[in-house]
């Protein structure tokens, strides 16, 4: 049986720019089931990142409904919302966004700190993750000492450490060369096979082809699925 992970019902996001009201997302209807691998496509400014941010609860819709695991996000308090995304969502960014002052090990460990996981348990989890991504040898290096592909690997490892149900990736290969891109996308593919739901925003047809479903956006609207 397929579980529904999230659903958007006429979700809208507008901002005020001066006296004009600008609609960034316009009546989005989207259902995502667990285990899906969705690629959001569309030109720059079509609303891909905004949609990802809103789904990831970093930003919120200004209208319509958003249900995540059966809970109504749109009518939720900030505190509960934060609890929800802390528990179930991991982010991967185009610019990696690792914390420069922390080592690889510490970067991966950080989400666990915010979840108040015990020290011994954290050690085990981080070690497993390093093992799995073959970066044990790099655990004491700082982000600046790594290549882009390696940094993104750490970024993904960090996103995965909290065992999220959903990974949101905003152009995860945008800063990488094609060889590194392929590696990352294959990694995503593997993760998806293990059951992690993934939503990625991408410009690349090739990357989109790794997904199970493509959603095309234009001017804040879903134009084609």
């Amino acid at each position: 049986m397929v579980n529904k992970l999230l659903s958007l019902n006429e979700a809208t996001r507008t901002v005020n720019s001066g006296s004009n009201k600008v609609t960034l997302l316009d009546n989005i209807n989207l259902q995502v089931n667990e285990g899906e691998f969705i690629s959001l496509m569309g030109p720059s400014g079509s609303g891909k990142s905004t949609l990802l941010n809103c789904i990831g609860m970093l930003d919120s819709f200004t209208g319509g409904g958003y249900t995540f695991l059966g809970e109504p996000v749109h009518s939720m308090k900030e505190k509960n919302r934060s609890k929800l995304y802390k528990e179930y969502i991991g982010f991967v960014f185009q610019a990696y966004h690792l914390i420069d002052e922390l080592t690889v090990w510490e970067n991966i460990e950080t989400p666990l700190l915010y979840k108040s996981v015990k020290s011994s348990e954290r050690k085990g989890l981080v070690a497993d993750m390093l093992d799995r991504f073959n970066i044990v040898g790099k655990k004491d290096l700082f982000p600046m000492q790594l290549s882009g592909g390696q940094q993104q690997l750490v970024g993904i490892a960090r996103a995965l450490i909290g065992k999220p149900k959903l990974i949101l990736a905003d152009e995860p290969t945008g800063n990488l060369n094609s060889k590194q891109s392929t590696e990352i996308m294959e990694l995503f593919s593997d993760l998806n096979k293990e059951g992690v739901t993934i939503i990625q925003a991408t410009h690349s047809e090739k990357n989109a082809s790794y997904g199970s479903r493509i959603v095309n956006l234009l001017d804040g609207k879903i134009v084609e699925e």
């Binding site: 505190k79 934060s82 995304y85 966004h97 914390i99 002052e101 915010y114």
Partner: protein, 794 residues
Amino acid sequence: MIKSFIKIAWRNIEASPLFSSINVLGLTLSLAIATLLFLFIHHENSFNQSLSNKDNIYRVLTEAKDYNDKIYASAAAMVAPTAIEEIPEVTDAVRFLKHGFGEPAYINTEFSEFIESSLYYADPSLFKIFDLELQQGLVNEALVKPNTAIISKSTAERYFGTDNVLGKTFKIDDEITVEITGVFSDLPTNITLDANVYISFATSFFSKRPTWSNVSLETYFLTAENTKQSMLKAKLGEMLEKNVQEDGRWYSLDVQPLNKVHLYSTHLSNAYSSKKGSIEQVKSLSWLALLILVIACINYMNLTTARSQKRSKEVGVSKTLGASTQNLITRFYAETGLITAISIVLGVLLALVFLPVFNNIAGKNIPNSMLWSLPFISSLLGVWMVSTLLAGSYPAIYLSNLSAKKILNGGKIGSRWSVNLRKSLVVLQFTASTMLIVGVYVIYNQLKFIQEKDLGFDKEQLMAISINGISSDNNVDLLRQKLSTLTTVESVGTAQGFPGKTVSGRMIQNPILDDGGMAVQTNRSDAKAIETMGMRFIAGKNLPLVKSEGDSLIEVVVNKKIVEYLGLTPEEAIGKKIQMLPGDNEYIVGVVDDFNYASLREPIGGYAFHNLATERKEYLIVKLRVTDLGTEINQVESNFKSIVPNVPFDYSFLDNNIEKLYLEEKQTATIGMLFSILAVFVACLGLFGLAAFTAEQRDKEISIRKVLGASVSGIVKLLSVDFIKLVLVALLIAFPLAYFVMNDWLQDFAYRVAISWHPFVFTAFAAIAVSILTVSFQAIKAAIANPVESLKTE
């Protein structure tokens, strides 16, 4: 989690050594200053607090009904014994009489002579009331018999080279010989008592003939628990009424609780202790400490938020990883706490190193050990917490509330509100520091004015040699003659006192007015002394040079103020009979121009020189012809010693004496100036931070402008102008405030400078110059950077 926060904090410190060191330096300097000031304040506040009876000790005050309502910190000899007998609440009392009413004593031991400026006569109840203990000797027997003494350990070593001195004797003023029956440990620095030697009260002539009229004894009561000051005052009033005839009751009595004795006694006369605090000084230094701490905290905020662009990324990432605002606030506080902790440790070490220098400037004797006292450490912890909360507030709250989305999307952070706040902080900082500069400038001007003001007599090269220790009048005459033959000596006279030294207070009556008279200072002197001091005659002549035995006529030379009070012109006054001294035969022979015989804080009052043999003439007044001061003093000393070999040669110069009147101002000014300079320096560090921040914020703008052809100088100007504006605003706020504050301070002086434009122009110039220097460093750095670098990072 805290561990991880501290780890990040530490790596942040390491990652940007320049910023971190500026930050730590600013805080360290300010905290070192604050530590010193707190030590000073703490030391002042701790006075007499260690005494077990501190809540039940009162000092008796004598309030004179005439004499300009003077209040004396001393009382008559009869007060203590009568009070013990008649007022049940007074359980015990101790009387102190300083030798010679405050004049130094001349001590002769078997081998050598000493000048002792802290010698007191005291009742044996001293031990019980003031917790005094003896290292050697028996408390029950000490200070009981006449001609016995107890001395402090260091004094014993000074006199005899050993502290094993029980049974040894010494001579005071070549008159009485006393035996040492006890040795006490040196008195703590924070207790009002300052004696090196206590002689038994039974030795003093007040013990044989106690009176109600002479109020020269500093008297402390030990009272029953919970005795009220007002009740004690009332009972003392009754006691006085019962025991003293109405015409002898020229004063009323009051008491002062011990905890007010140190800080609230500047208005009292006759307080013997050399350790006198002033609540005014404590207050102004407390404000200074607070101001400096605030400047430092503002600095920290500015420097920290200056790097917020960089730090914000970390905040954004942490937030997407699940950090709550609470987490982040804790984090920034942890970081601030770490930096302030480092700064406090360094600051305290710095303070420790500079404590001797500070003691020297402040004229205090604060021991190192005070740093480790529990109350001080707990107040340091308090400072740590408050400065962490204050300095950390802005970064913590501002940065933690940033929206993750906005940061990670590369949006510029820093709302108009926060930019304005930061600007206001800089304005506040500069307002505070420029006020300090103006204030110190004005204080210096006033002190210079005091130094250079024509005091109405010739204070240069005037030497006063104490002849109190010479018991034979013949020797004094001999000495005077011998000195006047020296080529280096212009003239010599003898007098009771001299300007800068309090002489006798009396009243002069104007027969026409029935106003009770005017308070005057009278100085018994000879004609030579008046001439030697360079008094300027405006009418009449000097006192007669010689006065024959049995001549009952009293000649008086008065100043202009007295003549004015009498309603006469100086010429009319000559030959007039007046009523001022005891007896009924005194006439004005001369009038001198007004001169400043006391501090310039006080307006000139009546002053008279006379030749009635009431007071002792305690000083030789000597005018030197200056060529080489060192050899001249030696010459005078060797002549002195040839006549009275056993009397210590104790001299001072009048101009030095006068300077001592302004010691407190001088200390406050020096401390103020030193710390103002540091405060300005710290404020500049803050400005530096803000400049760096702006340069960072406008990184891209600058690069684009350069690509479009802007010159380096154009960009430096662009970046600097904004800051100069801030400094100008600060000056606009600071100047009127400083003017009012300093004008108020100057009101304490009867003779004072007008506040001119000089300090303001100087301060404005200095502040602008220093800030341009600070800002342009950053501006130039930003302007000459390669634009490609900053454009690429976007």
